[in-house]
Symmetry: C2
Subunit: 286 residues, 2 copies
């Protein structure tokens, strides 16, 4: 496994790989790997000749007062896990390499990027999409693997790939969960033991939405109310939002429509902010 820090070196390496006819898969990450990340790496491994895992805690996607400084980092552990998952190249640039002085071009997603995460974290998706474009140009992938846990990120990245005509297949991998249902996240580290005990309520709330929809409930308001009710059992948490959206547009819907609805939640436990979501199949007969 190779470790590359320089953007120029990454790019010329990627160009060589492509020219030799090999397929490149990229897994963009912020590091501090858990099984969610290693599942993405394994998916890229199955589908490509060369797997590039990028590790970059991207300052542009953190707002003022967010957890950029304290975001957990453990490069040695990540290195071992990336290699175990089948990574060929780790690209781990520093912030100066990615945003040199005079940087002044951003990729900006519009509709669908200003609600939910975009409302709570203004300019977050601008930072995400900008760094993804840069990483795509540096690693020249045929496919890119992202996790469904960050559903709105998947939406803005998918639309960006289409809008800007990137010749890249987006592969979306299912959320990996703890046994009690809590979605794996680097930010789970911030939870106290008491908070951790309550955290599975996020997924329970989402499963409640799924059950209601399976029973024929189509009103988003009813679904949201049921999800909020479950979340309220978490005494140490406050909900940022509970939303029912069309996953194609990321607009909130009044009624669930076939084929799919997405229910997304964000919850704060002290300094930890957790997100989760569930895709719900909606059948055409009510």
């Amino acid at each position: 496994m190779e470790i590359i820090r320089s953007a120029g070196e990454m790019q010329s390496h990627a160009e060589k790989i492509r020219s030799s006819g090999k397929r490149i898969g990229v897994v963009p990450t912020m590091g501090y790997f858990h099984e969610g990340h290693t599942s993405l790496i394994r998916i890229a491994r199955e589908r490509c000749d060369v797997v590039v895992t990028t590790i970059f805690v991207n300052p542009a996607q953190f707002g003022t007062g967010e957890d950029f400084e304290q975001y957990p980092r453990d490069f040695e552990r990540d290195k071992a896990l990336a290699e175990e998952g089948g990574t060929d190249v780790i690209f781990a640039p520093d912030a100066e390499e990615m945003y040199p002085p005079g940087f002044g071009t951003f990729v900006v997603p519009e509709d669908g990027a200003s609600i939910l995460e975009g409302q709570v974290r203004p300019s977050h998706f601008r930072g995400v999409v900008t760094v993804v474009v840069k990483l795509f140009h540096l690693t020249k992938p045929h496919i890119a693997v992202f996790g469904q846990k960050d559903a709105q990120q998947v939406f803005v990245v998918r639309r960006m790939i289409r809008d800007l005509n990137f010749d890249i297949d987006l592969v979306v991998a299912p959320t990996i969960r703890e046994q009690d249902g809590l979605a794996k996240s680097s930010r789970n580290l911030y939870l106290t033991a008491a908070e951790r005990a309550e955290a599975p309520l996020l997924y329970q709330a989402l499963k409640e939405a799924e059950s209601l929809a399976a029973l024929g409930e189509r009103k988003a308001e009813k679904i949201r109310a049921a999800v909020s009710e479950v979340l309220q059992r978490a005494k140490l948490a406050t909900a940022d939002y509970v939303a029912v959206v069309d996953p194609e547009t990321f607009r909130e819907v009044g009624e669930l429509h076939p084929p799919l609805a997405l229910v997304a939640v964000a919850v704060r436990f002290g300094s930890a902010r957790l997100i989760d979501n569930i895709l719900i199949s909606v059948s055409s007969k009510g």
Copy 2:
């Protein structure tokens, strides 16, 4: 010479060319060719195996009330001139192909894009840079050729290439002029005979700036005043701006500094809006 209208077809064709080890040069244009355009095509021809000329009047870079509808178009003539200049592929999509319903991702240049053209034409450079990114992804070039006449466009595109890590060499071609100095432009077509007679004053004004700098003048205010004085001789025109900027940052400067200063003007003759500029070498001793 091939003519391609479909984005998908252009992209797979470009990928095939690249995979075969050939070098692609792209010349992005809005059509209605004059010698300025054909000079760009010739430059690409000299440096590449395959020349792709794109013809697309990009609605995203025109503001409300601008000349998008009346912008001149003559595809048959362009086709002949493109072929004569050595084009292998014309890519000429329609607006629906480039901006399908649901389009919602823009590439936005910041500092340096909101003055001069960006001030007079808000969101102009957002449209330019977005379509250039799309065209780069569709034509997969090794080099891209742009004209110095649109100096601020060259600035935002060069910075975008660097900021977003495109693996593309930007080649900037000198402005082609009529015998009397008027920069060739598709918009010269809008001039009445009387306006056309006054239009060479733009270049005369820029040459005046160059002479003053050669004589040792370093104060931008003095240069601007001299340029404005020449432009005032054009009785049918009103000046939009006269600016002295650092071509590296596109910020206005108080004093000319080595190695280069750029003097840029924009002038309105009735419905025609003409721009021009001159790069001035500034020696280190005053």
